[in-house]
Subunit: 348 residues, 2 copies
């Protein structure tokens, strides 16, 4: 019997945040691909598009007119998935039909007046202005006593269901804690109760020592490929300070977050010379529900691309029915991202 | 305050199999769509394709030549995600880096020698022959004492990562129980311990009484849209008898499974007049690990399409980071599928 090689033998790894495993099949990346090929997303956009409902001075679906904004611009989603005034209901029929009303507030944040930019193409001060808005919006939403969780996220690229290429993100806030957050709360609490430090503090320290999956680091943040990444080039930005949410960030930390966001997303674009699609978002402690010393702010990036600008990873049959699965190792992905330049390919 | 309306107000529903909730936002289906439009998958395929590695008599990647098979044909996946001879390893570094070797056997099943068919276009006896193969392969894999779980599934359509349109499915078997099955085991056991009947027996009885989400029914099976469906047109086939796995099915039950498979997939194709993509697969009790009286055989269908043959539902930002979300109600989806003919649109 040979010895096990984590770089080449099939194995599972535990996602310590969710408590769920991912199947890693490194040898499988060699299989040929005759499947779906995506649009490579190389279109050139104008800096202003008269038909875009996010560009300054344009009209939106509900008839509102956007101001002539110069940095970012926030409004309530015209097609919100959650509404403020949903009547309360709690249904339980024989433990088989269980439902509960859900209420919330959904907002859209245009990151820039420029229709043709994306985060990696914006300046650090311009990204810092977005971080300021995230912080301000988080604070404003948390003032509603009934809001218990605030999800800040961005879908980037048509392949990620983004319906408008104008750079923008969303915030969905609601009166219950969603399922992924419940998992992360539970596992962070168990670790904190056992060790007296947040799980992600210990994890980031260990990753910095190993220096095998780290992509970027500055005084306040680390960007890395988590040991348990499911998506091919999944990464995570973690604050060095164990803070529960974005409200704790100082001005200097916000600038360092802007800086690491620019560097990480630039590496992403340079990986396949394309505007790299992803869904990204912050995970933070619930609000208006007490103190959560175990909670450690972080931001996940889930990008779908696997082999090139046009071939993605499909999380389908086996993955949906049984277990997430990946073909390249997190270490290989980290190495590829480390090899990328931090000068955007469009500027070379 | 108005009263809550489950057909129009945002709410969550509990998936009693996984224990996780889905957010339902019925009012949201009206939002305009300017996002990604998929290929509508209307290509005509020849009944034999000399370049297809699944067609009879053709050569595969590893040099093997397919027999001139007349019904279905099974072989070990040339690019298996799991392998039989992986050395054993169990890693746990400070509760932060946790990994374990995984071994298994992955097989491919061509459903028909005809390159141009799909399940709904095959005859009931031809589908019955596929069910026979599933049963036989399940029995053969379960003879390996070390195999603990056997996942039978199909990815249909390029949009679902299927890399070859020749009708085929897969079986991945392995030495641990994957995460989705652990959830379903746990919740079925709790229900069974409390009520003395399987959860899905009670659920199917209640659904038959309500007759609101039922799509098809015969003596042995029911096809329905589950109350907690996440995907727009998600369905589930459940056996009326509470059996732990496919080995228990009699010849008559296998024929009735073939029949309900044909009817359900025909309705799917007729919904948008397209070869309807999905990932589908059976959930069954673990093998070689004792008796599981709480386990009730069922088959999930997860189709991505939402509005038409070319516009799908994206499970992205909010869904990946926080909670699965759907725009149409399961009841609306059920009504649409009930309205579809059971004569395939290509034969009209
Ligand atoms: O095995 P295939 O058909 O090559 O691959 C397909 O199904 C697998 C199992 O769901 C997935 O892991 C792959 O991403 C998908 O492309
Ligand atoms: O809100 P948007 O951008 O219209 O919609 C996009 O993001 C939402 C939140 O992740 C998803 O529910 C939608 O499927 C996706 O198309």
């Amino acid at each position: 019997q040979q010895t096990f090689e984590i770089n080449s033998d099939p194995h599972t790894r535990l996602n310590i945040l969710t408590g769920e495993r991912v199947l890693v099949s490194p040898h499988r990346s060699k299989r040929p691909w005759q499947g779906q090929v995506e649009d490579d997303n190389q279109e050139q956009r104008p800096s202003y598009d008269p038909k875009c409902y996010l560009c300054p001075t344009n009209e939106r679906a509900d008839g509102d007119v956007n101001p002539d904004y110069k940095e970012s611009f926030v409004f309530v989603n015209d097609f919100s998935a959650l509404l403020k005034d949903t009547p309360t209901a709690d249904i339980n029929e024989d433990e088989l039909f269980i439902a509960e009303s859900e209420k919330g507030i959904c907002k859209v944040i245009a990151f820039s007046p420029r229709h043709d930019l994306t985060l990696p193409e914006m300046s650090v001060p311009a990204i810092k202005a977005v971080v300021d808005v995230w912080q301000k919006e988080f604070a404003a939403l948390a003032e509603h006593e009934w809001i218990k969780y605030i999800q800040i996220f961005e879908n980037k690229g048509a392949i990620m269901g983004c319906s408008n290429p104008h750079p923008h993100g969303q915030i969905w806030s609601q009166n219950h804690v969603p399922v992924e957050l419940q998992k992360e709360s539970k596992n962070q609490k168990t670790y904190f109760d056992n060790h007296g430090v947040t799980m992600l503090s210990a994890y980031v320290q260990a990753e910095l020592r190993k220096n095998e999956r780290i992509i970027e680091e500055n005084d306040s943040f680390v960007a890395l490929v988590p040991f348990w990444a499911s998506w091919p080039y999944e990464t995570m930005i973690v604050s060095k300070r164990p803070v529960q949410n974005i409200l704790a960030f100082t001005d200097q930390e916000k600038e360092q977050l802007a800086s690491i966001l620019k560097l990480l997303t630039t590496r992403y674009d340079n990986l396949f010379n394309t505007s790299f699609p992803y869904s990204a978002g912050m995970h933070q402690a619930p609000v208006n529900s007490g103190d959560f010393p175990e909670w450690h702010w972080h931001m996940h990036f889930y990008p779908p691309l696997l082999r090139s600008a046009t071939v993605k990873k499909f999380m389908v049959g086996y993955e949906m029915l049984a277990n997430p699965q990946r073909d390249i190792t997190p270490e290989f992905a980290a190495q590829q991202l480390r090899n990328c330049s931090t000068t955007h390919y469009k500027n070379v």
